[in-house]
Symmetry: C2
Subunit: 250 residues, 2 copies
DNA sequence: CGCTAGGTTGAGGTACGTCAAGCTAAGTGG
DNA sequence: CCACTTAGCTTGACGTACCTCAACCTAGCG
């Protein structure tokens, strides 16, 4: 919960910049504007609430390090994690418009977030429309990811669904440089993974084992290694078009 | 496919205005700006493509009358409809940022759409930031609806899922005045409904019959009548918070 | 040493899907 | 007017994918 004012090395902005620059170029002025926003950094322990459902936040945040999720808790006691977020993801930019949160944001691992006040973001949207379009673009991509997830939940079996998730996470983590040789950290236990996949823990375990038995991935100690990426993508029917990986003027 | 220039009675704008004014007030200038956009009206027959997956549209559109869906077609031959849209919904505002469409938009019934060029919308976003925020808000609500649908697909049984969809459609259609005494038109056959629900036609049919047997709804000739709304909402665990029905400054 | 969180496995139930047949109502051509 | 077709709804039988419950195993930790 330590404030930041040093303009020199805004190291924590790197993942956000990577996400934006993957889709378009950012000018020096735009970068400076981002660096000069009065960011507030804060670290959340595992499974704690970053933003509470029903609250009316006056800030939005992106992930500096760790993983986070949007969570909907059901009256019956279960929950569905409706998205998973990686470093560089603006998790609740829509909070600026929606006012009241219809879901929680929780830390899926220990997680550092950078907060900026809505008022500051709104000013930025007026002064730097192109930069704002890029931030809105990330929100639009977020919507595309949700559509793809709806397709997975509606029409794919448990193993293919898991494979699709792994393929997507790999691409998104590559963008922020968190993948080396098809290997990346995903320190989730199988219970949390099940909450994402819309499955029981048992079925999640069996799907994982199937992927391992097929020699498509290995998963040990929170590290995923994709052994055979083309085959994994084929199994999942994964097509990365929805992630908008084209770098072009927006 | 007839152009429009008459400024007098832009009757077709009414559903869009209803959707926006449900969330905030619109000034006379904003209304005039919407009326003066060079809209292009076009009617699509049942099951035709309004926007093709993979295309790079230069316009965005909202629904004037009828129902439309976003559709993802799977290699196996099936499809998932990832959203359902009603009059007043801006279906592909995100196309402005995403450039390339990751899904199709199809007419679920005969359907009239109003198109505006991206260039015109972009100008509007610069000149009338508040109006633009309201349009962006509808896109954010769209995302919230998708999240709620992910929850349904992941954690609700077929009957509850169907009940939830009906509750949501009822609220959204009320906003545009298409519901009277709990009754509204939903001229979908069960095959298309199944494509939305992520179910087989058989299971869709049985879920419908269950709701009818419980005396919660009746469905005849494309008309749905909600017989017992509180019980239907309770069964679906429906909470309309995600639809952002509060009218407040945005 | 015992405790705990997390992974794994088996057994049995349930909610789906698939296949196939029969039904109805609307439309079409004679 | 009737035969015939067609789209859509409904039902039954049967298979499968998933869930729940319960046990057991392992590694870490006090």
């Amino acid at each position: 919960m330590h404030g930041r004012t040093d303009k020199a090395g805004q190291e924590f902005l790197r993942p956000l910049l990577a996400v934006l620059e993957r889709r378009d170029t950012i000018s020096a002025a735009e970068r400076a504007a981002l660096e000069n926003l009065p960011w507030r950094l804060r670290t959340f322990p595992l499974e704690t609430e970053v933003i509470a459902a029903g609250s009316r936040p006056e800030e939005s945040c992106f992930i500096v390090s760790g993983f986070a999720s949007r969570a909907v808790y059901l009256p019956g006691g279960g929950r569905q994690l409706t998205s998973i977020h990686v470093p560089g993801d603006f998790v609740d930019l829509h909070g600026l418009l929606l006012k009241e949160m219809d879901h929680s944001v929780i830390a899926l691992t220990e997680c550092t977030m950078a907060f900026a006040k809505h008022s500051a973001l709104r000013k930025l949207s007026e002064k730097l429309p192109h930069l704002w379009r890029l931030l809105s673009l990330t929100a639009a991509i977020d919507g595309a990811i949700q559509r793809s997830w709806i397709t997975s939940l509606g029409r794919r079996g448990s193993t293919e669904r898991l494979a699709h998730l792994i393929c997507e996470l790999c691409v998104r983590l590559e963008i922020v440089g968190a993948v080396s040789e098809g290997t990346f950290q995903l320190p989730l236990n199988q219970t949390r993974l099940a909450d994402i996949l819309g499955l029981s823990v048992v079925q999640t375990n069996r799907s994982l084992q199937k992927l391992r038995a097929m020699d498509l991935i290995s998963w040990t100690g929170g590290m995923i290694a994709i052994v055979d990426r083309p085959k994994l993508a084929a199994l999942a029917e994964f097509d990365d078009i929805y992630l908008n990986l084209l770098r072009e003027p927006r």
